[in-house]
């Protein structure tokens, strides 16, 4: 049974988390100045989340991603809970990325504050 029951549930929880993260000035400012458009193509359940200079969007959009990350909903959850190591997940094909690896690396310092926020946010949603 996947952590996120269906697409709506994923957008409400994981999507909501990204929106909450984006409301943090330091994070949104960093994404804007980096100018990176990231597309998460999620399976189980199917969903698409965009994070970029204009904010967080759900579903297919008329945007050009700099980096595309393909991963399962459960892998997303495990990543934010620090139960999955990024290089291991990449090596084991749990996460696939398309885009300049240097740009993938740019994401890493940006997500630092999110690790502390995630467990608390998910707890509120019963996860």
């Amino acid at each position: 049974m996947p952590v996120f029951k269906n697409t709506e549930h994923l957008y409400e929880t994981l999507g909501g988390f990204w929106k909450a993260l984006y409301e943090r000035q330091d994070f949104s400012q960093a994404v804007k100045s980096a100018g990176i458009q990231i597309k998460f193509e999620i399976t189980d359940p199917q969903a698409v989340i965009w994070v970029g200079p204009d904010g967080v969007e759900f579903g297919e959009q008329n945007l050009k991603p700099d980096v595309t990350m393909q991963l399962a909903g459960d892998t997303c959850h495990a990543f934010w809970k620090k139960e999955v190591s990024l290089p291991v997940a990449l090596a084991k094909r749990q996460i696939k990325s398309k885009g300049n690896i240097a740009k993938v690396m740019k994401l890493l310092p940006l997500v630092k504050p999110a690790y502390d926020m995630y467990p608390e946010y998910m707890k509120k949603h019963g996860l």
């Binding site: 190591s85 090596a91 690790y115």
Partner: protein, 421 residues
């Protein structure tokens, strides 16, 4: 039956911009003024003298750190130069045109720090501990290496997903034992570790579970300045004499958990990933070597007079130069596409990296061999640079996996691999 080939160009368009052109000029100038003269000098020195303080090896490595070239894989956000795949291709082709050995020394230097940046989400403290000091280093007091091969394991330890990799009778000679969350290492790495005699840190591969054979391994960002680490003698070689290589010994060396990139659960996949990046870059260095041999030959054929006219006016010499040119151009297109694709797609298609390395090292050897023939007796003399290039290029068919073993791995992948062919 048609096979489902990989469209390498679908990753991203390869377009040279002003930054790429400027980079090419800048690196070429550095190579002509610093790298190539140093490489020629180092070639004449003993392996021990190469690593002594004050040798041209240290002049080059320090200058590279001064210019920030040791950070070309580290993103700008972490203080590095962070070149894109095309930039990396340009950089390593130019570097290797001056010296394949020093290009390899520069390439492996960044291995430990690059892999540190990958595990930063898990261990953010490593940014301050490893990445920041490395990026800020200007006098080469911090230098990396890639320590994977062992006295009994060369190309076999580089080629996962095959039967030998899972044979419990074939195990690592550097063995780790868990001690709480840390690992204690005992054993040694081979004499073929590039920068092995000079590095202060290593991307280090070691055994964790011998019951799984070579697949039962782990990878660490190892500090080589701690007690228990010692070095073997500097290796004397036929070529790439400017690249210091030598054993590293480990005697009860503790590696803390935050320096462990992975253990046996992901070791095979991670080895594949590292090989995918390494072979794709090694191919570019072979291309650089081939280009250097071609350029030497072009100049020589314009100056050398035989049969009453310059060599270049002989029809057969023109044909041979054209053959070299064709091979080099094809090697550049393949290696650019593979590097671009495999650095844009993670995890990489390692088979294509191996194909690129095999093709480009064959090209380099063909070009060097033909060049030597054109030089005639002069090519056998140490007075001509082509003699050194021939020796340097010979090594490329063995380093980073011998071409024979890599070709077998490609064959295995074609028949039994993840992608259907």
């Amino acid at each position: 039956m048609a096979y489902d080939y990989l469209d390498l160009q679908c990753a991203d368009q390869i377009v040279l911009n002003d930054d790429h052109e400027a980079l090419k000029k800048q690196v070429r100038k550095f190579v002509n003024e610093v790298v190539k003269p140093a490489s020629i000098e180092l070639d004449k020195m003993s392996a021990l003298d190469v690593i002594k303080e004050g040798s041209p090896y240290w002049t080059v490595m320090r200058k590279m750190h001064e210019l920030g070239y040791h950070t070309i894989f580290i993103p700008e956000e972490l203080g590095g130069i962070g070149l894109d795949p095309l930039g990396l291709h340009i950089f390593f082709e130019e570097m290797a045109a001056g010296s394949i050995g020093l290009a390899v020394a520069c390439g492996v230097d960044v291995f430990p720090s690059f892999f540190t940046s990958l595990i930063l989400p898990d261990y953010p403290e490593l940014e301050e501990l490893i990445i920041q000091p490395y990026v800020a280093d200007r006098d080469c007091s911090l230098l990396g290496c890639w320590a994977i091969t062992e006295p009994e394991h060369g190309s076999d330890i580089l080629t996962p997903y095959q039967d030998h990799f899972h044979n419990p009778r074939i195990t690592h000679q550097l063995v780790g034992k868990p001690d709480g969350d840390d690992w204690i290492l005992n054993g040694q790495k081979a004499a073929w570790v590039s920068n092995g005699t000079t590095a202060t840190m290593a991307l280090l591969f070691f055994g964790t579970d011998p019951s799984k054979g070579l697949a039962g391994g782990g990878i660490a960002i190892a500090d080589l300045t701690v007690p228990g680490v010692s070095r073997g003698k500097a290796l004397e070689k036929i070529g790439q004499r400017d690249l210091p290589q030598g054993e590293i010994y480990f005697d009860d060396v503790r590696v803390p958990k935050e320096r462990i990139v992975c253990t046996a659960d992901a070791y095979e996949q991670m080895t594949d990933l590292v090989l995918g990046a390494a072979n794709a870059h090694m191919a570019v260095m072979c291309l650089g070597g081939a280009r250097a041999a071609f350029e030497e030959t072009l100049t020589y054929t314009r100056e050398r007079v035989q049969g009453g006219k310059p060599l270049c006016e002989h029809q057969d010499i023109q044909r041979r130069l054209a053959e070299m040119f064709i091979e080099i151009e094809a090697a550049r297109q393949l290696s650019r596409n593979v590097l671009n694709y495999n650095l844009w797609s993670f995890p990489p298609h390692t088979t294509y990296s191996m194909v690129s390395k095999i093709f480009c090292s064959r090209t380099a050897f063909d070009v060097a061999q033909n060049a030597l023939q054109i030089f005639g007796g002069n090519g056998l003399s140490k007075e001509y640079h082509i003699e050194k290039l021939f020796r340097d290029i010979t090594s490329t068919r063995i380093e980073d996996g011998s071409n024979e073993t890599l070709t077998l791995a490609v064959g295995h992948e074609i028949l039994f691999g993840e992608r259907p062919y």
